[in-house]
């Protein structure tokens, strides 16, 4: 095992290896920054370039891409309220308010640091789990998926600000949207209005790009000025190093986020978006100041970003154990291996040890490289928040639409982004929380399918949710989230919190 590790390191830390890795990291950053495009697109587009290359070169390139995409995506989330990739969505909630307060540099610094640490913790987690990889993957099945999704959905209650009713309306609307398209269980088509485009449901990337990027651009256009609303009076951009320090101070949030990311990454079928949402909600739960979230709490940036990077380490666990990818990026990556004549499967760690270690190292080093680049340019990137809307809006709108179109070469996706952009603007305008809608949309499908699967497993008996310890633990936690604050509020009879969107 150590021999392979040393061999892999020997290949990576050469001029050739370093070049492929740096190239991957730069491509990853770019694809991360541009809304709509993400890791899967980047890797898919790179495939033809790896033809005729040595497998380890291809692997290093892909590892570079996978390690760098999450941080790239957080930059647009923070500066423009536009998640660069779907898993960066949760970063918008607090990252953008920080940018509006003139603390963009600090937020980017925090995201970069949290990304690297998360990525490294994910790799450590992976290394520690290799001996028990199989057991870990087999531990989490449909009942646990359901309980996890429910826990995330309970986050709607936390994200509603003061107005629970509006939060629930939006959450229900989000769930409704998640149920559009094929019912994975019965095979029936629902709520599509006869539109073939909706067969596969409301596509997540166009919807998220619309409801954040396009909405924000409409909002800015109406308002005028710049993202940073403070005018010229505020003396200086907050320092990037403050962001780095804030992460070190908040190390429990980093640890918690990374662990959630790694565990969720290890579960095939639950994506990075779920990981970062769960991490965000958990950070709110354990915070001493839950009311500061959504208004620019730095922990709201650290939590999702650490989870987002840690998930790739986790996603390798089922890949190694069974040859089954834990994330969308990993699935494409396995395709690359097949193209290079390597067979992913349960014996992968035995047969292709070198490949595995090349990837692990490339992933770990790439997220550090990406973060270092990020820290170096954060100061200048933050100036984007001072660019006038007349320049900013047309650029961002064009890039967002092109990104959404490029994903599947589908013009319908662009229309979908526009529809969600208008919907999002109306929600902001009339003070309905977008977060609730997004949580419903992201978690609805997995909650529904895994609920049905659980009942099929138990032949209709509900006891399945109470006899499995992990499921039970998650359900009790969820119940506590919903009930404890209510009891607390009743006991102290505080006036309700102020609204926030």
């Amino acid at each position: 095992m150590f021999e392979s590790l040393i061999d892999a390191a020997g290949l990576l830390f050469t001029l050739n290896g370093g070049m492929w890795l740096a190239l991957g990291a730069i491509i990853g950053l770019l694809f991360g920054v541009i809304p709509g495009l993400g890791g899967t697109t980047a890797i898919a587009l790179m495939i033809p370039f790896t033809f005729g290359r040595e497998p380890y070169e291809a692997i290093t390139l892909m590892g570079g891409v996978m390690g760098a995409v999450p941080f790239g995506g957080s930059v647009s989330a923070i500066l423009l309220n536009t998640p660069g990739t779907a898993p960066n969505t949760a970063t918008c909630f607090d990252g953008y308010p920080l940018a509006q307060q003139g603390k963009a540099g600090m937020a980017i610094g925090a995201a970069a640091t949290a990304s690297s640490l998360g990525g490294l913790i994910g790799v450590v987690f992976l290394a520690a789990m290799i001996p028990v990889a199989k057991q870990i993957v087999l531990l989490i099945g449909p009942p646990e998926f359901f309980a996890l999704a429910l826990l995330g959905i309970a986050g709607i209650a936390l994200s509603t600000g003061g107005n629970l009713l509006r939060g629930l309306i939006c959450g229900a609307a989000g769930l409704g949207l998640a149920f559009v398209g094929y019912d994975g269980v019965s095979g029936g088509v629902r709520f599509t209005g006869g539109i073939g485009y909706l067969w596969d449901g409301v596509p997540l990337v166009p919807a998220l790009t619309g409801i954040f990027a396009i909405t924000e651009m409409i909002n800015l256009t109406v308002k005028g000025g710049t993202v940073f609303g403070g005018g010229q009076a505020t003396p200086k951009i907050s320092r990037v190093s403050d962001g780095v320090k804030s992460v070190l101070r908040q190390y429990p949030v980093v640890l918690q986020g990374s662990l959630i990311g790694a565990v969720v990454g290890a579960v095939p079928g639950i994506g990075g978006t779920v990981a970062s949402f769960l991490s965000y909600t958990s950070a709110v739960l354990v915070s001493k100041h839950p009311e500061s979230f959504g208004k620019g709490d730095i922990a709201g940036v650290i939590a999702p970003e650490s989870a987002n990077n840690a998930k790739e380490g986790g996603a390798l666990i089922p890949t190694l154990a069974f040859g089954i990818p834990g994330s969308a990026e990993m699935a494409v990556f396995l395709g690359v291996l097949v193209l290079h004549g390597l067979e992913p499967g349960p014996l992968m760690l035995v047969e292709n040890e070198g490949v595995v270690f090349s990837l692990i190292l490339a992933l770990a080093v790439a997220c550090v490289i990406a973060s270092l680049i990020g820290l170096a340019v954060a100061r200048w990137a933050a100036l984007l928040t001072r660019v006038d809307v007349h320049l900013l809006v047309p650029t961002v709108v064009s890039v967002a639409f092109i990104g959404v179109y490029a994903l599947r070469s589908s013009i319908e996706d662009v229309v979908m982004a526009l529809i969600f952009g208008i919907l999002g603007y109306l929600m902001v305008r009339f003070d309905y929380p977008r977060i609730s809608l997004v949580i419903g949309l992201v978690l609805g499908e997995i909650a529904e399918v895994s609920f049905h699967q659980s009942l099929m497993m138990s032949e209709g008996s509900w006891t399945i949710f109470f006899t499995r310890s992990i499921t039970l633990g998650l359900l009790v936690t969820t119940l506590a989230i919903l009930v404890v604050p209510a009891i607390g509020a009743f006991a102290s009879r505080k006036p309700p919190e102020e609204d926030r969107s």
Binding site: K134, P142, G184, P268, G335, G341, L347, E459
Partner: protein, 320 residues
């Protein structure tokens, strides 16, 4: 060097053929060809298509690029509908997963294409199905299956998918009670479901499942192959179901309906040559994904025979 000679030969061939054939094929192909792939990038099928597409261009009368375009969605319905409605000019062809792509129509769903009208160009490869069990399962034979009081839980994708139909057909043929655990996205997910114990039985391609048998994570029961890949494994013929033999996933290539015969011939021949190309063969060897080619006419026969059996069984099972 070889490519240049070949190109010269191809040019000469074009000039010669051009003199005798009607205009449609004389100049074909004049521009790049789009090769639709009904799946996401990555995965075995995608890799097979890309390997063939990479060298296909040089075996056409004029060397053009053959560009794979992944168009996943609706279990292939999106790509097949696009293919069905494309101009039958030889510039749009698609990979077609059979019987997966035919299944919605066979079970009576309205889809935007009619697979029976497509022009078949070739088969790239195939993999027969096999049945495997969770390693803790107490079932060791077909008799155990029939003797079970409680239904056997089988994991599969949803209604309209191949795995859904084949599991029903198998249960009907052998005669045991089954219960479904479904809703899985694809073969990887439902295989994992059985490894995890969500369900007890899984039916999938030999290619996909034999690796888990080899690693000791699954227990094999029976195979639909004529000659078992896993030594000593019971075959459906031996078990008394010869009509089920050969049932499996076929990786076909199709063109829109009413493709002119001459263009069909050119494409069909070129695909066969691309499969025999040393690069393709080297890849197949290394990746352990052997080609199993058939030309267009043979595929047409296979498809009509296969669909006949499926339809008959689906009627018997009552669409489940």
């Amino acid at each position: 060097m070889a490519a240049r000679h070949l190109f010269a030969a191809a040019c000469a061939a074009v000039i010669l053929i051009g003199a005798v054939l009607p205009a449609t094929a004389a100049s074909y192909p004049e521009r790049n060809i789009t090769f639709l792939v009904p799946f996401k990038t990555g995965g075995g099928y995608d890799a097979t298509v890309r390997t063939v597409a990479k060298v296909l261009g040089k075996y056409l009368p004029n060397e053009v690029d053959v560009r794979p375009l992944n168009l996943p969605g609706g279990g292939g319905r999106k790509a097949y509908t696009k293919l069905y409605n494309a101009k039958p000019d030889g510039y749009t062809i698609a990979a077609f997963a059979y019987p997966g792509g035919a299944m919605p129509q066979i079970v009576g769903e309205t889809v935007g294409y009619d697979f029976e009208k497509l022009t078949w160009l070739a088969r790239l490869s195939q993999s027969a199905y096999m049945v495997a069990l969770n390693k803790e399962s107490k079932i060791g034979s077909l008799a155990d299956l029939r003797g079970r009081e409680l239904p056997v839980k089988i994991a599969s994708s949803g209604l309209g998918s191949t795995s859904f139909a084949v599991t029903a057909i198998f249960a009907k043929a052998v005669g045991f009670k089954m219960a479904r655990v479904t809703g899985y996205e694809g073969s990887r997910e439902y295989t994992l479901g059985v490894l995890r114990g969500d369900a007890e039985m899984v039916i999938g391609t030999v290619e996909g499942l034999s690796r888990f048998v080899e690693s000791g994570d699954l227990k094999p029961l029976i195979t639909f192959e004529a000659k078992p890949t896993i030594p000593g494994l019971l075959t459906v013929r031996e078990a008394g179901f010869p009509e089920l033999e050969g049932m499996g996933a076929q990786r076909l290539v199709a063109a829109p309906p009413t493709l002119p015969d001459d263009i069909r011939q050119i494409l069909s021949d070129a695909i066969q040559k691309a499969i025999s190309d040393p690069d393709s063969q080297a890849w197949a060897e290394k990746a352990n994904r052997p080609f199993d080619p058939l030309d267009g006419t043979a595929v047409e026969r296979e498809v009509s025979k296969g669909s006949f059996i499926l339809k008959r069984y689906i009627e018997a099972v009552g669409k489940d």
